[in-house]
């Protein structure tokens, strides 16, 4: 799901940012996230990963916290910050009400755990939020992603890597390069 959303962002001509892009261990993780949120006008928050951990029986709550930071920035930030826009994704409609009901009224959409739906939701939202008119359609991006996924194992073979060993930045680089030559 994460890779599909990152791919969609690049296919639409934007840059995907994520705390995983920082490898400076000396920097606090929260500081990295704060910096990235401050620098981005658009935010995509996928809450579908908020599920109970099998071992601890507790949910991982990083995503909702990052969403809170983004909304706080938008509410209390400078002139540039208050123009921020975000989309909140979840696996099922209204599931969020059971664990984070205060976000009711935000732009919340469900993808049902399906990559294609997530791609279409992100694309449609970014088109409206950015007001850009020359964006590829959802079906087109899905087709691009399907071809990228089929090329990825061979790209990784050339790099002597397994696909799941690609770092976020290397994956982003591969996506951007592939889009430049293949769409």
């Amino acid at each position: 799901m994460f890779n599909a959303i990152v791919f969609t962002v690049y296919d639409l001509g934007f840059i995907a940012r994520c705390a995983l892009e920082e490898d400076d261990a000396a920097d606090f993780r929260l500081s990295k996230i704060e910096r990235i949120i401050e620098e981005c006008k658009f935010g995509i928050h996928d809450l579908s990963a908020v599920t109970l951990d099998a071992r601890t029986n507790l949910p991982r709550f990083n995503m909702p916290m990052e969403l809170g930071l983004f909304l706080g920035c938008k509410r209390f930030g400078t002139k540039a910050q208050i123009t921020k826009r975000c989309i909140i994704l979840d696996s099922e409609p209204f599931r969020y009400r059971t664990f984070i009901s205060d976000i009711s009224g935000q732009d919340i959409r469900s993808h049902g755990g399906e990559l294609e739906r997530a791609i279409r939701e992100v694309r449609d939202w970014l088109r409206t939020a950015s007001r850009r008119r020359t964006l590829p359609g959802g079906g087109e991006i899905i087709e691009h992603y399907r071809r990228f996924r089929s090329d990825l194992p061979r790209i990784c073979l050339e790099l002597n890597l397994e696909p799941d060993r690609l770092t976020f930045l290397d994956l982003s680089q591969a996506i951007a390069q592939w889009l430049r030559t293949s769409r």
């Binding site: 296919d11 840059i15 790099l159 976020f168 951007a176 030559t181 293949s182």
Partner: protein, 92 residues
């Protein structure tokens, strides 16, 4: 050679191929033209009706050149493959 996913075609000169590719892409309203040099490397990229793909904020551990080379090779190999067989409907 002009190769879209549907109809590959060969031309005597690069100029002719580029001309046809531009016309075809403009007719489709959007698309990308990748012009390769004799050495197989990408010589020029043209985008029509699609947003420009931006670079990630920084390079990763592998370096952008190494990734570009790997992606370029895979894409070139794929383009060199024969087009998939398509069923031809009989005309009545």
């Amino acid at each position: 050679m002009v190769k879209d996913r549907e109809r590959p075609a060969s031309f005597e000169t690069k100029r002719e191929a580029v001309h046809v590719a531009v016309r075809q892409t403009k007719r489709n309203n959007s698309g990308q033209i990748v012009i390769h040099g004799r050495n197989g490397r990408i010589a020029e990229l043209r985008t029509y009706g699609l947003p420009k793909v931006q670079n990630p904020p920084k390079s990763g551990t592998l370096g952008s050149k190494k990734i570009a080379k790997a992606v370029g090779k895979v894409v070139r190999d794929r383009l060199a493959e024969p087009p998939p067989n398509r069923a031809i409907k009989s005309e009545k």
